[in-house]
Amino acid sequence: MGLDNYARMLTEDPHFLSAVRVTLIYVVLSVPLSGAFALLVAVLLNRPMRGIGIYRAAYYLPSLLGGSVAVAILWRQIFGADGLINDVLLYLGIVGPSWISTPEYAIYTLIVLHVWQFGSPMLIFLAGLKQIPAELYDAAAVDGAGRVRTFFRVTLPLLSPILFFNLVLQTVNAFKAFTPAFIISGGTGGPADSTLFYTLFIYQEGFGNFRMGYASALAWMLLLVTAAFTALAFRSARYWVHYAD
Protein backbone atom coordinates (compact mmCIF):
# COMPACT_ATOMS: atom_id res chain seq x y z
CA MET A 1 0.00 0.00 0.00
CA GLY A 2 2.60 2.51 1.06
CA LEU A 3 1.36 6.02 0.49
CA ASP A 4 -1.44 5.01 -1.88
CA ASN A 5 -4.14 6.15 0.50
CA TYR A 6 -2.62 9.62 0.68
CA ALA A 7 -2.11 9.79 -3.06
CA ARG A 8 -5.71 8.81 -3.63
CA MET A 9 -6.97 11.36 -1.15
CA LEU A 10 -5.09 14.22 -2.73
CA THR A 11 -5.46 13.40 -6.39
CA GLU A 12 -8.42 11.11 -7.08
CA ASP A 13 -11.11 11.56 -4.47
CA PRO A 14 -13.49 14.46 -5.17
CA HIS A 15 -15.23 13.89 -1.82
CA PHE A 16 -12.02 14.64 0.03
CA LEU A 17 -11.85 18.10 -1.50
CA SER A 18 -15.54 18.71 -0.78
CA ALA A 19 -15.06 17.65 2.83
CA VAL A 20 -12.07 19.95 3.28
CA ARG A 21 -13.89 22.86 1.66
CA VAL A 22 -17.09 22.39 3.68
CA THR A 23 -15.20 22.01 6.95
CA LEU A 24 -13.05 25.07 6.35
CA ILE A 25 -16.07 27.22 5.44
CA TYR A 26 -17.76 26.00 8.60
CA VAL A 27 -14.79 26.70 10.86
CA VAL A 28 -13.84 30.03 9.29
CA LEU A 29 -17.39 31.42 9.49
CA SER A 30 -18.82 29.92 12.66
CA VAL A 31 -15.86 30.49 15.00
CA PRO A 32 -15.55 34.29 14.55
CA LEU A 33 -19.34 34.75 14.40
CA SER A 34 -20.04 32.86 17.59
CA GLY A 35 -17.08 34.62 19.23
CA ALA A 36 -18.44 38.03 18.25
CA PHE A 37 -21.91 37.25 19.59
CA ALA A 38 -20.40 35.81 22.76
CA LEU A 39 -18.37 38.97 23.38
CA LEU A 40 -21.22 41.32 22.53
CA VAL A 41 -23.72 39.64 24.83
CA ALA A 42 -21.13 39.26 27.58
CA VAL A 43 -20.50 43.03 27.49
CA LEU A 44 -24.26 43.70 27.59
CA LEU A 45 -24.73 41.34 30.52
CA ASN A 46 -21.74 42.66 32.46
CA ARG A 47 -23.71 45.24 34.40
CA PRO A 48 -26.06 45.24 37.34
CA MET A 49 -29.47 44.33 36.02
CA ARG A 50 -32.57 42.81 37.56
CA GLY A 51 -32.98 39.15 36.64
CA ILE A 52 -29.43 38.85 35.35
CA GLY A 53 -29.21 35.18 36.39
CA ILE A 54 -32.19 34.29 34.24
CA TYR A 55 -30.82 36.09 31.18
CA ARG A 56 -27.44 34.44 31.58
CA ALA A 57 -29.12 31.05 31.80
CA ALA A 58 -31.31 31.81 28.78
CA TYR A 59 -28.33 32.71 26.59
CA TYR A 60 -26.35 29.75 27.86
CA LEU A 61 -29.00 27.03 27.56
CA PRO A 62 -28.76 26.53 23.75
CA SER A 63 -25.08 25.71 24.10
CA LEU A 64 -25.83 23.02 26.69
CA LEU A 65 -28.47 21.36 24.52
CA GLY A 66 -27.29 22.24 21.03
CA GLY A 67 -25.00 19.28 20.39
CA SER A 68 -27.73 16.71 20.91
CA VAL A 69 -29.51 14.63 18.30
CA ALA A 70 -32.79 16.11 19.55
CA VAL A 71 -31.78 19.65 18.61
CA ALA A 72 -30.38 18.49 15.27
CA ILE A 73 -33.79 16.95 14.51
CA LEU A 74 -35.44 20.20 15.56
CA TRP A 75 -33.12 22.10 13.21
CA ARG A 76 -34.05 19.80 10.38
CA GLN A 77 -37.70 20.73 10.91
CA ILE A 78 -37.05 24.46 11.41
CA PHE A 79 -35.11 24.80 8.14
CA GLY A 80 -37.17 22.27 6.18
CA ALA A 81 -39.51 23.10 3.26
CA ASP A 82 -42.54 23.59 5.57
CA GLY A 83 -40.46 24.48 8.60
CA LEU A 84 -40.67 27.27 11.12
CA ILE A 85 -38.50 29.69 9.12
CA ASN A 86 -40.63 29.34 6.01
CA ASP A 87 -43.84 29.65 8.04
CA VAL A 88 -42.62 32.99 9.31
CA LEU A 89 -41.46 34.05 5.83
CA LEU A 90 -44.90 33.15 4.48
CA TYR A 91 -46.43 35.74 6.78
CA LEU A 92 -44.20 38.26 5.04
CA GLY A 93 -45.34 36.96 1.68
CA ILE A 94 -42.12 35.12 0.85
CA VAL A 95 -42.07 31.47 -0.20
CA GLY A 96 -38.77 30.15 1.12
CA PRO A 97 -36.85 27.17 -0.26
CA SER A 98 -36.11 24.00 1.69
CA TRP A 99 -32.97 25.36 3.28
CA ILE A 100 -31.52 21.99 4.27
CA SER A 101 -31.95 20.42 0.84
CA THR A 102 -30.55 23.29 -1.22
CA PRO A 103 -26.78 22.86 -1.67
CA GLU A 104 -26.11 26.61 -1.50
CA TYR A 105 -27.87 27.05 1.84
CA ALA A 106 -27.50 23.76 3.72
CA ILE A 107 -24.10 24.57 5.26
CA TYR A 108 -25.41 27.91 6.55
CA THR A 109 -28.16 26.20 8.55
CA LEU A 110 -25.35 24.33 10.34
CA ILE A 111 -23.39 27.54 10.86
CA VAL A 112 -26.48 29.16 12.36
CA LEU A 113 -26.79 26.16 14.68
CA HIS A 114 -23.18 26.62 15.80
CA VAL A 115 -23.53 30.36 16.30
CA TRP A 116 -26.73 29.80 18.31
CA GLN A 117 -24.54 27.97 20.82
CA PHE A 118 -22.38 30.97 21.74
CA GLY A 119 -23.36 30.58 25.40
CA SER A 120 -20.29 28.82 26.73
CA PRO A 121 -17.71 31.24 25.27
CA MET A 122 -20.00 34.01 26.52
CA LEU A 123 -19.74 32.71 30.08
CA ILE A 124 -15.95 32.59 29.75
CA PHE A 125 -15.89 36.19 28.47
CA LEU A 126 -18.18 37.25 31.29
CA ALA A 127 -15.82 35.76 33.88
CA GLY A 128 -12.95 37.60 32.17
CA LEU A 129 -14.77 40.93 32.13
CA LYS A 130 -15.36 40.70 35.86
CA GLN A 131 -11.58 40.43 36.40
CA ILE A 132 -10.86 43.81 34.80
CA PRO A 133 -10.18 46.29 37.62
CA ALA A 134 -12.66 49.16 37.87
CA GLU A 135 -9.77 51.64 38.38
CA LEU A 136 -8.80 51.22 34.75
CA TYR A 137 -12.24 52.33 33.60
CA ASP A 138 -12.13 55.25 36.00
CA ALA A 139 -8.74 56.24 34.65
CA ALA A 140 -10.00 56.00 31.07
CA ALA A 141 -12.99 58.18 31.97
CA VAL A 142 -10.72 60.76 33.60
CA ASP A 143 -8.62 60.83 30.44
CA GLY A 144 -11.79 61.59 28.52
CA ALA A 145 -12.05 58.33 26.58
CA GLY A 146 -15.49 57.55 25.15
CA ARG A 147 -17.24 54.19 25.33
CA VAL A 148 -15.93 52.88 22.03
CA ARG A 149 -12.40 53.99 22.75
CA THR A 150 -12.52 52.50 26.24
CA PHE A 151 -13.67 49.20 24.78
CA PHE A 152 -10.83 49.02 22.26
CA ARG A 153 -8.12 50.46 24.50
CA VAL A 154 -8.98 48.90 27.86
CA THR A 155 -11.46 46.04 27.62
CA LEU A 156 -10.20 44.30 24.51
CA PRO A 157 -6.46 44.24 25.37
CA LEU A 158 -7.17 43.01 28.89
CA LEU A 159 -9.52 40.40 27.52
CA SER A 160 -7.11 39.18 24.85
CA PRO A 161 -5.89 36.10 26.76
CA ILE A 162 -9.52 34.99 27.12
CA LEU A 163 -10.17 35.80 23.49
CA PHE A 164 -7.25 33.60 22.57
CA PHE A 165 -8.43 30.77 24.83
CA ASN A 166 -11.92 30.89 23.29
CA LEU A 167 -10.51 31.02 19.79
CA VAL A 168 -8.46 27.85 20.26
CA LEU A 169 -11.25 26.01 22.09
CA GLN A 170 -13.93 26.97 19.57
CA THR A 171 -11.75 26.11 16.60
CA VAL A 172 -11.01 22.64 17.95
CA ASN A 173 -14.71 22.17 18.70
CA ALA A 174 -15.78 23.32 15.24
CA PHE A 175 -13.42 20.81 13.61
CA LYS A 176 -15.00 18.10 15.76
CA ALA A 177 -18.64 18.83 14.86
CA PHE A 178 -20.41 15.73 13.60
CA THR A 179 -23.92 15.17 14.95
CA PRO A 180 -25.76 18.09 13.27
CA ALA A 181 -24.36 17.33 9.82
CA PHE A 182 -25.09 13.63 10.22
CA ILE A 183 -28.69 14.14 11.35
CA ILE A 184 -29.59 16.99 9.00
CA SER A 185 -28.23 15.22 5.92
CA GLY A 186 -29.41 11.77 7.02
CA GLY A 187 -25.80 10.59 7.16
CA THR A 188 -25.06 11.41 3.52
CA GLY A 189 -23.35 14.78 3.84
CA GLY A 190 -25.67 15.93 1.06
CA PRO A 191 -27.18 17.57 -0.83
CA ALA A 192 -24.27 17.39 -3.29
CA ASP A 193 -21.67 17.00 -0.49
CA SER A 194 -22.61 20.45 0.81
CA THR A 195 -22.71 19.30 4.46
CA LEU A 196 -19.98 16.68 4.22
CA PHE A 197 -18.07 17.58 7.36
CA TYR A 198 -14.63 16.02 7.45
CA THR A 199 -15.59 13.97 10.52
CA LEU A 200 -18.64 12.68 8.65
CA PHE A 201 -16.42 11.76 5.71
CA ILE A 202 -14.12 9.74 7.99
CA TYR A 203 -17.17 7.97 9.40
CA GLN A 204 -18.53 7.15 5.94
CA GLU A 205 -15.24 5.76 4.68
CA GLY A 206 -14.47 3.77 7.82
CA PHE A 207 -17.88 2.53 8.87
CA GLY A 208 -20.00 2.88 5.74
CA ASN A 209 -17.54 1.62 3.14
CA PHE A 210 -15.28 -0.24 5.59
CA ARG A 211 -12.14 1.25 4.13
CA MET A 212 -10.35 1.38 7.47
CA GLY A 213 -6.94 2.15 5.99
CA TYR A 214 -8.26 5.08 4.01
CA ALA A 215 -10.20 6.32 7.03
CA SER A 216 -7.01 6.19 9.10
CA ALA A 217 -5.17 8.23 6.49
CA LEU A 218 -8.01 10.78 6.55
CA ALA A 219 -7.83 10.86 10.34
CA TRP A 220 -4.11 11.65 10.20
CA MET A 221 -4.82 14.59 7.93
CA LEU A 222 -7.43 15.89 10.38
CA LEU A 223 -4.92 15.63 13.19
CA LEU A 224 -2.27 17.52 11.19
CA VAL A 225 -4.69 20.28 10.21
CA THR A 226 -6.02 20.77 13.76
CA ALA A 227 -2.46 20.79 15.08
CA ALA A 228 -1.44 23.31 12.40
CA PHE A 229 -4.35 25.60 13.25
CA THR A 230 -3.54 25.43 16.94
CA ALA A 231 0.15 26.08 16.32
CA LEU A 232 -0.77 29.04 14.12
CA ALA A 233 -2.97 30.45 16.86
CA PHE A 234 -0.17 30.12 19.43
CA ARG A 235 2.30 31.67 16.99
CA SER A 236 0.08 34.66 16.32
CA ALA A 237 -0.65 35.05 20.04
CA ARG A 238 2.58 36.90 20.76
CA TYR A 239 1.47 39.74 18.48
CA TRP A 240 -1.97 40.36 19.90
CA VAL A 241 -2.39 38.63 23.24
CA HIS A 242 -1.56 40.92 26.09
CA TYR A 243 -0.69 39.45 29.47
CA ALA A 244 -0.96 41.79 32.42
CA ASP A 245 2.19 40.53 34.14
Binding site: V41, L64, L65, V69, A70, D82, D87, Y203, L223
Partner: protein, 276 residues
Protein backbone atom coordinates in the same frame (compact mmCIF):
# COMPACT_ATOMS: atom_id res chain seq x y z
CA UNK B 1 -25.61 55.74 32.31
CA UNK B 2 -28.86 57.65 31.61
CA UNK B 3 -32.05 55.78 32.53
CA UNK B 4 -33.42 55.67 28.99
CA UNK B 5 -30.26 54.06 27.74
CA UNK B 6 -30.32 51.52 30.56
CA UNK B 7 -33.86 50.56 29.62
CA UNK B 8 -32.88 50.20 26.00
CA UNK B 9 -30.06 47.80 26.91
CA UNK B 10 -32.37 45.85 29.20
CA UNK B 11 -34.97 45.55 26.45
CA UNK B 12 -32.33 44.38 23.98
CA UNK B 13 -31.18 41.71 26.42
CA UNK B 14 -34.74 40.47 26.98
CA UNK B 15 -35.59 40.36 23.27
CA UNK B 16 -32.32 38.59 22.52
CA UNK B 17 -32.98 36.00 25.22
CA UNK B 18 -36.44 35.31 23.80
CA UNK B 19 -35.05 34.89 20.29
CA UNK B 20 -32.44 32.47 21.65
CA UNK B 21 -35.02 30.38 23.48
CA UNK B 22 -37.69 30.49 20.77
CA UNK B 23 -36.62 27.26 19.02
CA UNK B 24 -36.72 25.40 22.35
CA UNK B 25 -40.14 26.76 23.30
CA UNK B 26 -41.35 25.95 19.82
CA UNK B 27 -40.04 22.39 20.19
CA UNK B 28 -42.04 21.89 23.38
CA UNK B 29 -45.18 23.47 21.96
CA UNK B 30 -44.96 21.44 18.72
CA UNK B 31 -44.71 18.23 20.69
CA UNK B 32 -48.33 18.74 21.78
CA UNK B 33 -49.65 19.98 18.44
CA UNK B 34 -51.39 17.80 15.84
CA UNK B 35 -49.10 16.99 12.90
CA UNK B 36 -50.61 19.40 10.36
CA UNK B 37 -50.48 22.31 12.79
CA UNK B 38 -46.72 21.85 13.28
CA UNK B 39 -46.18 22.78 9.67
CA UNK B 40 -48.51 25.71 9.42
CA UNK B 41 -48.35 27.54 12.73
CA UNK B 42 -45.12 29.25 13.74
CA UNK B 43 -46.73 30.40 17.01
CA UNK B 44 -46.19 28.93 20.44
CA UNK B 45 -49.75 28.42 21.60
CA UNK B 46 -51.28 25.22 20.17
CA UNK B 47 -54.86 25.55 18.93
CA UNK B 48 -55.57 22.06 20.14
CA UNK B 49 -53.43 20.27 22.71
CA UNK B 50 -52.89 16.60 21.96
CA UNK B 51 -50.85 14.19 24.02
CA UNK B 52 -51.02 11.36 21.46
CA UNK B 53 -47.62 12.39 20.14
CA UNK B 54 -46.00 11.14 23.33
CA UNK B 55 -47.92 7.85 23.36
CA UNK B 56 -47.29 7.22 19.66
CA UNK B 57 -43.64 8.17 19.86
CA UNK B 58 -42.93 6.03 22.90
CA UNK B 59 -43.64 2.81 20.99
CA UNK B 60 -42.95 3.98 17.45
CA UNK B 61 -39.87 1.80 16.99
CA UNK B 62 -41.67 -1.38 18.07
CA UNK B 63 -39.62 -1.43 21.27
CA UNK B 64 -40.72 1.13 23.86
CA UNK B 65 -38.42 4.07 24.56
CA UNK B 66 -38.06 2.96 28.18
CA UNK B 67 -35.40 0.47 27.06
CA UNK B 68 -33.42 3.20 25.26
CA UNK B 69 -33.61 5.44 28.29
CA UNK B 70 -32.41 2.57 30.49
CA UNK B 71 -29.45 1.97 28.16
CA UNK B 72 -28.52 5.64 28.09
CA UNK B 73 -28.75 5.89 31.87
CA UNK B 74 -26.69 2.76 32.40
CA UNK B 75 -23.89 4.02 30.15
CA UNK B 76 -23.95 7.53 31.59
CA UNK B 77 -23.92 6.38 35.21
CA UNK B 78 -21.12 3.88 34.58
CA UNK B 79 -19.13 6.58 32.77
CA UNK B 80 -19.58 8.93 35.72
CA UNK B 81 -18.37 6.27 38.17
CA UNK B 82 -15.39 5.46 35.96
CA UNK B 83 -14.33 9.05 35.34
CA UNK B 84 -14.68 10.19 38.94
CA UNK B 85 -12.61 7.27 40.19
CA UNK B 86 -9.92 6.96 37.54
CA UNK B 87 -9.40 10.64 36.69
CA UNK B 88 -9.02 11.58 40.34
CA UNK B 89 -6.42 8.84 40.85
CA UNK B 90 -4.48 9.90 37.79
CA UNK B 91 -4.71 13.53 38.88
CA UNK B 92 -3.46 12.65 42.37
CA UNK B 93 -0.46 10.92 40.84
CA UNK B 94 0.35 13.89 38.60
CA UNK B 95 -0.16 16.44 41.35
CA UNK B 96 1.50 14.74 44.31
CA UNK B 97 3.56 11.66 43.52
CA UNK B 98 6.94 11.66 41.85
CA UNK B 99 7.61 9.01 39.25
CA UNK B 100 9.73 8.58 36.17
CA UNK B 101 8.93 10.77 33.16
CA UNK B 102 6.15 12.51 35.03
CA UNK B 103 6.54 15.71 32.98
CA UNK B 104 6.52 13.78 29.74
CA UNK B 105 3.37 11.85 30.65
CA UNK B 106 1.72 15.04 31.76
CA UNK B 107 2.50 16.69 28.44
CA UNK B 108 1.13 13.69 26.55
CA UNK B 109 -2.02 13.82 28.66
CA UNK B 110 -2.46 17.52 27.80
CA UNK B 111 -2.03 16.84 24.10
CA UNK B 112 -4.64 14.08 24.29
CA UNK B 113 -7.22 16.71 25.28
CA UNK B 114 -6.85 18.30 21.86
CA UNK B 115 -7.17 14.99 20.05
CA UNK B 116 -10.56 14.57 18.37
CA UNK B 117 -12.24 11.19 18.91
CA UNK B 118 -12.66 10.94 15.14
CA UNK B 119 -8.91 10.56 14.82
CA UNK B 120 -8.78 7.67 17.28
CA UNK B 121 -11.91 5.84 16.31
CA UNK B 122 -10.54 3.57 13.58
CA UNK B 123 -7.77 1.88 15.60
CA UNK B 124 -10.03 1.86 18.67
CA UNK B 125 -12.80 0.15 16.77
CA UNK B 126 -10.41 -2.43 15.36
CA UNK B 127 -9.18 -3.20 18.86
CA UNK B 128 -12.63 -3.55 20.39
CA UNK B 129 -13.83 -5.64 17.47
CA UNK B 130 -10.91 -7.98 18.06
CA UNK B 131 -11.96 -8.26 21.72
CA UNK B 132 -15.53 -9.06 20.65
CA UNK B 133 -16.89 -5.96 22.38
CA UNK B 134 -18.71 -4.40 19.43
CA UNK B 135 -22.48 -4.22 20.05
CA UNK B 136 -21.96 -4.22 23.80
CA UNK B 137 -21.63 -1.24 26.14
CA UNK B 138 -18.07 -2.17 27.07
CA UNK B 139 -16.27 0.09 24.54
CA UNK B 140 -18.24 3.02 25.94
CA UNK B 141 -17.67 2.18 29.61
CA UNK B 142 -14.38 0.35 30.19
CA UNK B 143 -12.13 3.16 28.86
CA UNK B 144 -13.70 5.54 31.39
CA UNK B 145 -12.22 3.41 34.16
CA UNK B 146 -8.76 3.89 32.62
CA UNK B 147 -8.64 7.68 32.91
CA UNK B 148 -8.84 8.55 29.21
CA UNK B 149 -10.60 11.91 29.62
CA UNK B 150 -7.61 14.21 29.89
CA UNK B 151 -9.75 17.25 30.45
CA UNK B 152 -11.00 16.00 33.79
CA UNK B 153 -7.54 14.85 34.85
CA UNK B 154 -6.25 18.32 34.12
CA UNK B 155 -9.15 19.93 35.97
CA UNK B 156 -8.44 17.84 39.05
CA UNK B 157 -4.67 18.26 38.89
CA UNK B 158 -5.26 22.01 39.06
CA UNK B 159 -7.60 21.54 41.99
CA UNK B 160 -5.37 19.16 43.95
CA UNK B 161 -2.38 21.47 43.48
CA UNK B 162 -4.33 24.17 45.29
CA UNK B 163 -4.76 21.97 48.40
CA UNK B 164 -2.15 22.52 51.15
CA UNK B 165 0.57 19.88 51.10
CA UNK B 166 0.84 20.05 54.89
CA UNK B 167 -2.29 17.94 55.11
CA UNK B 168 -0.60 15.16 53.13
CA UNK B 169 2.46 15.41 55.37
CA UNK B 170 0.36 15.25 58.52
CA UNK B 171 -1.44 12.18 57.25
CA UNK B 172 1.88 10.59 56.30
CA UNK B 173 3.24 11.19 59.81
CA UNK B 174 0.15 9.47 61.13
CA UNK B 175 1.16 6.45 59.07
CA UNK B 176 -0.84 6.85 55.86
CA UNK B 177 0.70 5.56 52.63
CA UNK B 178 -0.01 7.18 49.22
CA UNK B 179 -3.27 5.26 48.83
CA UNK B 180 -4.63 6.30 52.20
CA UNK B 181 -3.57 9.92 51.64
CA UNK B 182 -5.56 9.84 48.40
CA UNK B 183 -8.57 8.29 50.08
CA UNK B 184 -8.61 10.18 53.37
CA UNK B 185 -7.29 13.61 52.33
CA UNK B 186 -7.50 14.20 48.60
CA UNK B 187 -10.89 12.68 47.81
CA UNK B 188 -12.87 14.44 50.57
CA UNK B 189 -11.22 17.80 49.84
CA UNK B 190 -11.65 17.55 46.07
CA UNK B 191 -15.39 17.18 46.26
CA UNK B 192 -16.18 20.31 44.19
CA UNK B 193 -13.93 19.12 41.36
CA UNK B 194 -15.33 15.60 41.58
CA UNK B 195 -18.88 16.89 41.35
CA UNK B 196 -18.05 19.07 38.33
CA UNK B 197 -16.47 16.02 36.68
CA UNK B 198 -19.55 13.92 37.45
CA UNK B 199 -22.00 16.50 36.06
CA UNK B 200 -20.15 17.06 32.82
CA UNK B 201 -19.41 13.38 32.29
CA UNK B 202 -23.11 12.64 32.62
CA UNK B 203 -24.18 15.40 30.24
CA UNK B 204 -21.55 14.58 27.62
CA UNK B 205 -22.22 10.85 27.74
CA UNK B 206 -25.96 11.42 27.53
CA UNK B 207 -25.44 13.66 24.49
CA UNK B 208 -22.78 11.52 22.88
CA UNK B 209 -23.76 10.31 19.46
CA UNK B 210 -20.64 9.52 17.48
CA UNK B 211 -19.13 6.68 19.52
CA UNK B 212 -22.52 5.16 20.27
CA UNK B 213 -23.28 5.22 16.56
CA UNK B 214 -20.05 3.40 15.84
CA UNK B 215 -20.27 0.73 18.53
CA UNK B 216 -23.99 0.00 18.91
CA UNK B 217 -25.91 -1.34 15.92
CA UNK B 218 -28.39 -3.74 17.52
CA UNK B 219 -31.76 -2.21 18.45
CA UNK B 220 -31.63 -3.81 21.91
CA UNK B 221 -28.45 -1.85 22.68
CA UNK B 222 -29.73 1.47 21.28
CA UNK B 223 -29.42 4.55 23.42
CA UNK B 224 -31.82 7.51 23.22
CA UNK B 225 -29.84 9.45 20.56
CA UNK B 226 -29.56 6.31 18.39
CA UNK B 227 -33.27 5.61 18.81
CA UNK B 228 -34.11 9.18 17.76
CA UNK B 229 -31.96 8.78 14.70
CA UNK B 230 -33.61 5.45 13.83
CA UNK B 231 -37.00 7.11 14.30
CA UNK B 232 -36.01 9.89 11.90
CA UNK B 233 -34.78 7.39 9.31
CA UNK B 234 -37.82 5.12 9.52
CA UNK B 235 -40.41 7.86 9.37
CA UNK B 236 -38.78 9.80 6.57
CA UNK B 237 -39.94 12.96 8.28
CA UNK B 238 -43.66 12.21 8.07
CA UNK B 239 -44.36 11.84 11.80
CA UNK B 240 -42.86 15.00 13.20
CA UNK B 241 -45.18 15.28 16.20
CA UNK B 242 -44.20 11.99 17.85
CA UNK B 243 -40.56 12.53 16.92
CA UNK B 244 -40.43 16.00 18.46
CA UNK B 245 -42.19 14.58 21.54
CA UNK B 246 -39.39 12.02 21.97
CA UNK B 247 -36.81 14.74 21.33
CA UNK B 248 -38.32 16.71 24.22
CA UNK B 249 -38.11 13.67 26.51
CA UNK B 250 -34.48 13.08 25.53
CA UNK B 251 -33.56 16.60 26.67
CA UNK B 252 -35.27 16.36 30.06
CA UNK B 253 -32.39 14.73 31.99
CA UNK B 254 -29.99 17.47 30.82
CA UNK B 255 -32.50 20.21 31.62
CA UNK B 256 -32.97 18.63 35.05
CA UNK B 257 -29.23 18.65 35.67
CA UNK B 258 -29.08 22.25 34.53
CA UNK B 259 -31.84 23.35 36.90
CA UNK B 260 -30.30 21.56 39.89
CA UNK B 261 -26.64 22.36 39.26
CA UNK B 262 -26.98 25.63 37.33
CA UNK B 263 -24.47 27.51 39.44
CA UNK B 264 -21.89 24.75 39.36
CA UNK B 265 -22.27 24.28 35.62
CA UNK B 266 -21.87 27.96 34.80
CA UNK B 267 -18.94 28.26 37.20
CA UNK B 268 -17.34 25.16 35.76
CA UNK B 269 -17.45 26.72 32.31
CA UNK B 270 -16.31 30.18 33.39
CA UNK B 271 -13.28 28.86 35.23
CA UNK B 272 -12.16 25.95 33.08
CA UNK B 273 -13.67 26.52 29.68
CA UNK B 274 -15.48 23.18 29.73
CA UNK B 275 -17.69 23.02 26.68
CA UNK B 276 -21.27 22.66 27.84
Amino acid sequence: MPTSRRWAVHLLVVVGALVMLYPLFWLISSSVKPNDEIFTDPGLVPQTVVTDNYATGWTALGVPFSGFFANSFLIAVAAVAGNVMSCSMAAYAFARLSFRFRRLWFAIMLISIMLPIHVLIVPQYTLFKYLGWVDTFLPLIVPKFLAVDGFFIFLMVQFIRSLPRELDDAARIDGCGPVLVYWRIIVPLSRPALITTAIFTFIWTWDDFFSQLVYLSDVSTYTVPLALRAFLDSSGGSTWGPMLAMAVLSLIPILGFFLIFQRRITEGISTTGLKG
